[in-house]
Amino acid sequence: MTPVQAVIAKELRGCFVSPIVYVVGAVFLLIFGFLSYLYVGFASAQAIQLMQQMQGGAQINLNDLVFRNLFASMRLVLLIILPILTMRLFAEERKLRTFELLMTSPISIMEIVTGKFVSVFLIYLGLLGLTGLVPTVLMLFSDFDWNPVLTGYLGMALLGALFLSVGVFASALTENQIVAAFVSFGLLLTGWLISGLGSLLGDTASGRVIAYISFMEHYDRLVRGLIDTSDLVYFGSSLIFMLFLTHRVVESARWK
């Protein structure tokens, strides 16, 4: 087991003995399930209406009516829930002085940051995997196209990774977990709201740049079933950028 794997294993173990993961996981799954139920309910109500108007034979598009709405709503849920998952990563180490152990072990800061990020990402992927139950059950009772659902899941995975990296960064800034959670809320909300600024500025150069910086349009395209290399590049590069910033923050903590 390499040092990075040791960090991942320790973090996973730490997550599962603390109640945070269970609470976050339960809330996440509950909201996902509830939203799915709502959208399926709306869809079937619409189907009944259509059937009455057209005298039967109406085909409801689950992809548009259920999954797109579901994935779009999950943005907000992830924004609220994921900072709770990441807040303790560095803040707790600082508070309990275990940070000193990590920093005096023969392991690089990048390895520590990577290990911590990967551990929460794995937990998040596990939660996403559990939500797979919803499309699986729907598949039994209806027909829909799996491809946009899979790109939606890809979008959720990438968006989650980005949110988690922002959370890891915020956690490295402070030794107070609450502050860490709020800083990541703030950063993510800003990332959301600047897309509004981008559309306000319209099709100008600055408007396009601001809209590009926000995660909104990149996520929307994936939810609509479009895989564009530029979106993948966006998620990949912003993830790496956030982890790099985390590295700098952790490094600078040594100078204080």
Partner: protein
Amino acid sequence: MIDVHNITKRYGHHTAIDRVTFSVAKGEVLAFLGPNGAGKTTTMRILTCFMPPTEGTARVAGFDCADQPIEVKRWIGYLPETPPLYQELTVTEYLTFVGRLRGMTGRNLTSALDQTIGRLELGSVRHRLIANLSRGYRQRVGLAQALLHDPPVLILDEPTVGLDPKQIIEIRELIKSLAGSHSVILSTHILPEATAVCQRVVIISGGHIVAEDTPEQLSARLRQSEKISVTLRTPSMGCEAKLRAIPGVLNIFPGQTGGNLLIECALGRDMRDEIARVVVANHWGLLELRTVSMTLEDVFLQLTRHEDNQPLPAEAMAARTADGAVATEDPVA
């Protein structure tokens, strides 16, 4: 093994340590003594690459702490002031994690784990959560963490804090047993600990090194004269004058009890037999005759109290301790 040259650490306008220079040979145990806030922890943090010095160089086993931190860290076992423990892990899990962080794997790790647990007598708690351990056990787990990979250099920040007297003796024995094969720096403000465990003492105060030597030499050096305590059964009126007449006797003070005298003699001469001869010849009844030595505690207080009044140039002190000559002037005056 450890070479610290002129390191300075500033936090904003506050200078935590100022041009500190010392070295530790292979197999040597060095005590870092000083009042709280003297710069002990800062120095240790620089040596363990937790933070870089503002100026100067620190080298461990030939590797520079600022430029080759990973190599330095491989050589070091470090017990910080607060043992860095994860409450949610058991002792075994915690030590396994620490071992893996240091690149230990497989059988190598298991045997080191068993050995360290045995050495620190943690066998009975090895499967308990660290959160549920008493302070003494936590301190020992912290020490186990530092010893696990059998590092050639050990840096221990107050290793016996929180232990009961029996455990303190055990840990001191353990540290003594490490001498010879390991270089150890330990910080403490418990003076007998330094005398019991260490071959050399560095006294640091206000960020400066104020003295560096063996505990015995330190007290000898700071003594300006030999002092001999004499207790007489039947002192006569003229006894003080007669004792003062012995060549070499500088001064005589009355002691705490009647019949007790404190005789100050020239440095480097043992006057006890001459004093005894005079006492016996005069039939004063010799009850007790002994040299009064300065404890490390006295030395420590003298040196650190001095710091408060007027700073002693570090160079002067270094020169004094380096040339090995007996100090003739009083550093406190």
